[in-house]
Amino acid sequence: MKIKTIQKIINSDLQLRLGCYGILFLISIVTFSNALATHDPYYFGPYFLSGIGENGHVLGANQLGLDIFSMLIYGARTSLVIATVSAMISGILGICIGGFAGFCGGRVDQIVSEIINGLMMIPVFFLLLLIIALFGNSLFNVIMVIGLTTWTGNAKLMRSQVLSLKERTFIVGARSIGENGFQILFRYILPNGMMPVIANTTLIMSNAILLEASLGFLGLGNPYVISWGQMIYAGKSYVGTAWWISVFPGLAIVVTVTILYLLSDGLNHVLNPKYINRKSG
């Protein structure tokens, strides 16, 4: 019954359907990367710069003889790990801070909102550059910076959700039977107001992938980890002779980020009552 309902919702929206299939595709690549990869992505083969399909390299090899196709498969892991963990940090922070501000209201809400507005104007990319340059380029740093700088949008969304939920009848009812404030916030308001934040968090995942790729492209990536951004960076010097080194990782980024965008849009569509009305009426 429940699965059927979910299926119906997914099938009702094109974007959501495409996004869900895409996510399944990405997850299966990450899960079966060992079986899919034709080479060891860390093995320096003897065929430098082989073209597409030459010497057993499906998508060619780079200047060190590494197999591009296998690197792409393993790069998906890095991108998705960074995206998922940093978006989770951002989602949890946003839900807690925004929920708290909206629930308290008054002065607290005003101060938190002003701080959020201020933080929203900080250019994330430059801050990321600065921190990576000063503190080193471990995956942990990248994830933390992305997570700690992107929660503001989530917090704003959550806050407005709480503001509108706070006055609903079921919350007033819960209060009247004597439940305390935090119980109401965590048991009733947060679960009911969380969905738009989840849709936005999907968007943050895609931004995290783009940010990480940009860092890799600037040569600030972690050299012990395979990432698409670093693959493009390596291919930059060979654009004239071996275009395949930089073309395919870029395509991988475009596909992955598009899937996440589709998913986020689809979720927004399904969750927006205005949209559902328009479809049925």
Binding site: E114, I122, F125, L130, F217, G240, T256, Y261
Partner: protein, 320 residues
């Protein structure tokens, strides 16, 4: 009205202070000891250490250091580049011109193309035009700017040899006047196209969705019921109301471009602030790094403030 302006101005100033403070905290908690670097790694003389600490004010409490830092920033002193031994303020001033050139030109074109395509797609919702361009908007929205730049270089510079791949002018020929202008234009085509293509999707999507939203409003229905022609309704009522979110987007996008243009500058070796910050990173030139970050952040805050004011001028409903 006045109260709103004061509030916005206050928020802008607050933002600048948050940025300055974050910057200060980052410098303070960054690993590495500047005194040790100045003394030399092998040399550890307590007297020299205390003398240097006194000279740079590092013996004072943190609050006093913070005040000194603010005082220096507001007097326009961002320090001296370690590598080039030139004032950072001067270097940024030189780098800002090429960056702003790219930003302004590309934003203008993206705004015009993206918005008009979005309007057409919204008016013919579900048509082939709408489907094709909505799909393309998804793809270009997901494309990293640096990769798109590389692809343009591969195609138009490396294979077809139509445009130069890097720089702002040819260093081998020194031309002046009109020919220099043509030279710069020729070099600008690829980076500007990259930035336009990257920015179009957001304008397209916002224009399309805001028109679709206004189209369903009750007052539009009323006008239609009265029998006003579709063209008149669109020109007089829908367009005016739908244009507001686009103005906001121009602001956000301009602010974003000041920093977002950095990656494109690097791909095309464009001599702007973005290229400056990246070479500063690889050379560990911290004063330049901090300076560019600071100036970019303050610029972003100013642009946001300006957009808020424009918004008030356009929308009479906003009066806080």
């Amino acid at each position: 009205m006045r109260g709103y302006l004061v509030k916005r101005l206050f928020a802008g100033i607050l933002t600048v202070f948050i940025i300055l403070t974050v910057n200060f905290i980052i410098i303070k908690i960054a690993p590495g000891d500047p005194i040790k670097t100045l003394m030399g790694k092998e040399h550890d003389n307590p007297d020299l250490r205390s003398a240097l600490e006194e000279k740079y004010g590092l013996d004072k409490p943190l609050s006093a250091q913070y005040l000194i830092y603010l005082k220096l920033i507001f007097s326009g002193d961002l320090g001296v580049s370690i590598i080039y031994n030139r004032p950072v303020t001067q270097m940024i001033y030189e780098g800002l011109k090429p960056t702003l050139l790219l930003t302004l030109i590309s934003t203008t074109f993206a705004l015009l193309i993206g918005t008009s395509f979005g309007i057409i797609a919204a008016r013919k919702e579900g048509s082939l035009f709408d489907v094709v361009f909505s799909g393309l908007a998804y793809l270009f929205n997901a494309t990293p700017s640096f990769w798109l730049g590389l692809m343009l270089i591969i195609l138009f510079a490396s294979k077809l040899k139509w445009f130069p791949a890097y720089g702002m002018s040819d260093v081998r020929t020194s031309v002046t006047g009109l020919r220099y202008l043509i030279e710069v234009l020729r070099h600008m085509i690829l980076p500007v196209s990259t930035l336009i293509l990257i920015q179009i999707p957001s304008y397209f999507r916002v224009a399309k969705s805001s028109i679709l939203q206004v189209k369903d409003e009750d007052y539009i229905m009323t006008l239609r019921a009265v029998g006003m022609s579709e063209k008149m309704i669109f020109n007089k009522y829908i367009f005016k109301n739908a244009i507001l979110p686009i103005i906001t987007l121009v602001g956000i996008s301009m602010a974003y471009m000041i920093t977002g243009v950095a990656l494109t500058e690097i791909v095309f070796s464009w001599p702007g602030t973005g290229k400056m910050i990246v070479s500063a990173i690889s050379q560990r030139d911290y004063p330049v790094l901090m300076g560019v970050y600071l100036v970019a952040s303050v610029l972003v805050a100013i642009v946001m403030l300006a957009i808020d004011l424009v918004y008030v001028a356009f929308d009479p409903r906003i009066r806080y």
